[in-house]
């Protein structure tokens, strides 16, 4: 057992941190304030290969391990959680399922553009009447000749505005009367594909979330991922992977709030001494640090298990549940340590707090995470 990062992983952390501090830090507050995402950043992210973190070199990816992936998302989110979200979704629930379940033809068609960020990808399951109840989706595609015709809508789609390759879950009905749930690949320029208005959100405002509307979209068989009735399983396994990214995003936000708090409490003088010397504050710092460390270890373990091809549903749910929870707690305490200054928009503390909250909701709420963990435990996976 070894708790040290490899030299390679250390270099990943250093490089991404430097990139994030130099390129993203100046624009992160603007993304949040204006709820706009500036396209030139995509080009910058592409230069350092952040769109193909784990894809093999032959598709133009960086071919890194899952811990390096978690480190990358953490470091990006430490500076800009909106960008962290875009990359997490793109890499783990957009690119990964195509790589893992796609045919060679699908991989060659999509992955090279995905790896360079020319096409940004996403994954959408949620509908107005289907959230935690994932089986309740109402999108439906009906076979017509060789193809299918898709109707329905999705809501709260991350990367909805800039994504051009979106994986969605849909019910299907074939000519011979079979039905079930499929995961399919949609492209932005398909006829009948419509992007809704941007949602006005509490946090991660730099990532433009929209609804998607599908009006009689003709979906060729080549766009079905895996076998037709495999959709639900693909989705669930994809989300296991995605949750490592969301956990890493939460971790990055918490880390940022924690670093600010340490620095501030050392410099802020009250009653003639730095507030860090008061037990009330120093205990807060100790708790923050411990929670962040525990979350980080849970994330790395889940990533490690994925790389060593072990089942990691439980571990991934655990790290997502825990990291998102402590991110909310840490960012909240960070504001408390900063007092009135923390409440002002001059400092990024309130942004961290708003950004952190959603990590307890998307890609499975904390309650669903606990359900998954409990199911695994009761099945004997103690």
């Amino acid at each position: 057992m070894n708790f040290e990062l490899t030299e390679q992983q250390k270099l990943v952390r250093r490089s991404v941190r430097k990139f994030a501090e130099e390129v993203l830090a100046p624009v992160a507050p603007t993304f949040d304030r204006e709820a706009k995402y500036n396209g030139y950043i995509v080009k910058e992210l592409s230069k350092v290969n952040l769109f193909g973190i784990q894809l093999p070199e032959k598709y133009g990816g960086a071919d890194l391990d899952s811990i390096s992936y978690a480190i990358t998302i953490e470091e990006i989110s430490r500076i800009c959680a909106s960008t962290g979200l875009m990359l997490s979704v793109h890499n783990s629930v957009g690119a990964y399922p195509i790589y893992n379940w796609g045919t060679e033809e699908q991989k060659e068609r999509y992955l090279p553009d995905i790896a360079t960020g020319k096409k940004i990808s996403g994954f959408s399951w949620t509908e107005p009447n289907a959230g935690s109840d994932a089986q309740g989706i109402e999108c439906i595609m009906v076979q017509k000749g060789n193809d299918f015709v898709l109707n329905g809508s999705k809501i709260f789609v991350t990367n909805g505005a800039i994504g051009s390759v979106i994986l969605i879950g849909t019910r299907y009905k074939t000519n011979d009367g079979q039905n079930g749930i499929a995961t399919i690949i949609l492209e932005k320029d398909m006829e009948g594909y419509e992007i809704g208005q941007p949602e006005d959100k509490m946090g991660v405002r730099g990532n433009i979330t929209t609804s998607l509307y599908f009006n009689n979209i003709r979906v060729p068989k080549e766009n079905i991922l895996g076998s037709l009735n495999d959709g639900f399983r693909i989705a669930m396994q994809t989300l296991d992977v995605g949750r490592i990214g969301i956990a890493a995003q939460a971790l990055g936000i918490a880390q940022a709030a924690y670093e600010h708090s340490v620095e501030y409490s050392k410099g802020r003088i009250q009653f003639k001494r730095p507030i860090s010397q008061f037990q009330g504050i120093s205990f807060k710092l100790a708790e923050m640090s411990t929670k962040i460390d525990a979350a980080r270890l849970l994330i790395y373990r889940a990533a490690f298990m994925k790389d060593t091809k072990k089942r990691f549903s439980k571990e991934s749910a655990m790290c997502k549940y825990y990291a998102s929870k402590i991110a909310r707690q840490v960012t909240q305490e960070a504001i408390q340590i900063h007092g009135g200054y923390g409440y002002m928009k001059d400092l990024p503390l309130e942004r961290y707090y708003r950004d952190a909250k959603v990590t307890e909701i998307y890609e499975g709420t904390s309650e669903i995470m606990k359900l998954i963990i409990a199911q695994q435990i009761l099945r004997g996976n103690l």
């Binding site: 130099e22 830090a25 100046p26 410099g267 802020r268 003088i269």
Partner: protein, 348 residues
């Protein structure tokens, strides 16, 4: 090319170390117009050292029309001036100057040789130190003679880690003991020795040794390499100025007061000012008489670049801003308002 071995014998164990004597100062001529101020300052300190050693202070001048500068140098306490006069010496030239001065060192064996820390001074000193296989201490903050580590050894105080640490450096076994000195480190003193000896050396140089060809008549340089480091008055801005519009007012103030604008990393990232105006780590250090810091919080990366400014005034609305710890005068208030207030005065 030599393999080093032969020369090494000499610097490793300098057997004739006692033959080296006198304090030399490379008395640079600035822009073929005047004696460099820094060289005159060094002469002041070198005079003290020479007196303590009971040795001579010798000024070395290489210039076109060198004679015209000698009277000024004579006013600054030298015992002797060694000079060369030639058209080729109008500007510093790495080959010509290095060869000629090296010949002088070989012949006259100075014990101490000091240079102004200028583009030419640094280059020449480094090249000569290599040829002599001796040590060179750059940008000394102070010089003193001490018997602690050897008889009358020169100790040079050299800043390291961007001026956070000072290291005391000696050069015990080789000669000359060489240092470069930045502008403003020492005070020039006016004094005239009786019977200053003037020694003219004939210019002789084989130009075929020069490898760099100048293709067309050079022009006076239009792009200053750095103005921040020579500026007497620097006006700095940080993230606290909030907008480019406000930051631009720094340039207005600079224009009205003959100041120079600089800043932290953030304004560059925000697109408010060009990269070469950065002060601090990975930017320039300043040596101004006065530094006005508007809306700068005072990250260490910035602070290391301003510590050499004589007076620092900081304006920031956060009373805990780190910049106040290193400031002589602290104004707690909105940097933009104070800036506007100053501008109103100067605009009238």
């Amino acid at each position: 090319m030599d393999r080093g071995y032969d020369l090494v014998r000499r610097w490793k164990k300098l057997s004739n170390i006692n033959e080296y004597r006198d304090v030399w100062v490379f008395t640079e001529i600035k822009d073929h117009v005047e004696v460099h101020e820094c060289a005159l300052q060094i002469l002041g300190k070198a005079r003290e050292i020479a007196d303590k050693l009971g040795q001579e202070l010798i000024s070395v001048v290489l210039a076109l029309d060198a004679e015209q500068y000698l009277p000024v140098i004579e006013e600054h306490g030298v015992d002797k001036i060694i000079y060369l006069n030639h058209q080729d010496l109008k500007h510093y030239h790495e080959r010509i100057f290095t060869d000629l001065v090296y010949d002088l060192i070989e012949k006259y064996k100075p014990s101490i040789f000091l240079f102004p820390s200028t583009e030419a001074g640094n280059a020449l000193a480094a090249r000569l130190a290599y040829r002599c296989r001796t040590g060179l201490v750059s940008d000394v903050l102070d010089l003193e003679l001490s018997d602690e580590f050897g008889n009358n050894l020169l100790i040079g105080d050299k800043p390291a880690y961007l001026g956070n640490i000072v290291a005391q450096i000696i050069c015990p076994n080789t000669r000359p003991q060489m240092c470069t000195v930045t502008m403003g480190t020492f005070q020039k003193t006016k004094m005239r020795k009786e019977n200053v000896e003037i020694m003219k050396i004939d210019y002789k140089f084989d130009k075929s040794k020069i490898k760099i060809k100048i293709l067309e008549a050079p022009t006076r340089k239009d792009k200053p390499s750095s103005t921040l480091s020579d500026a007497k008055f620097v006006i700095g801005g940080g993230h606290g100025l909030v907008s480019k519009e406000n930051f631009d007012k720094l340039f207005d103030l600079a224009k009205l007061t003959n100041g120079q604008v600089g800043g932290t990393r953030r304004p560059i990232l925000n697109g408010w000012m060009p990269e070469h105006l950065q002060i601090g780590i990975s930017g320039e250090s300043i040596f101004s008489d006065l530094y006005l810091a508007f809306g700068i919080s005072g990250a260490i990366q910035h602070l290391v670049g301003i510590t050499a400014s004589k007076i620092i005034i900081a304006i920031n609305k956060d009373p805990n801003a780190g910049i106040f710890k290193v400031a002589d005068y602290c104004v707690i208030g909105d940097a933009n308002e104070i800036l506007e207030g100053l501008l109103n005065y100067f605009r009238v």
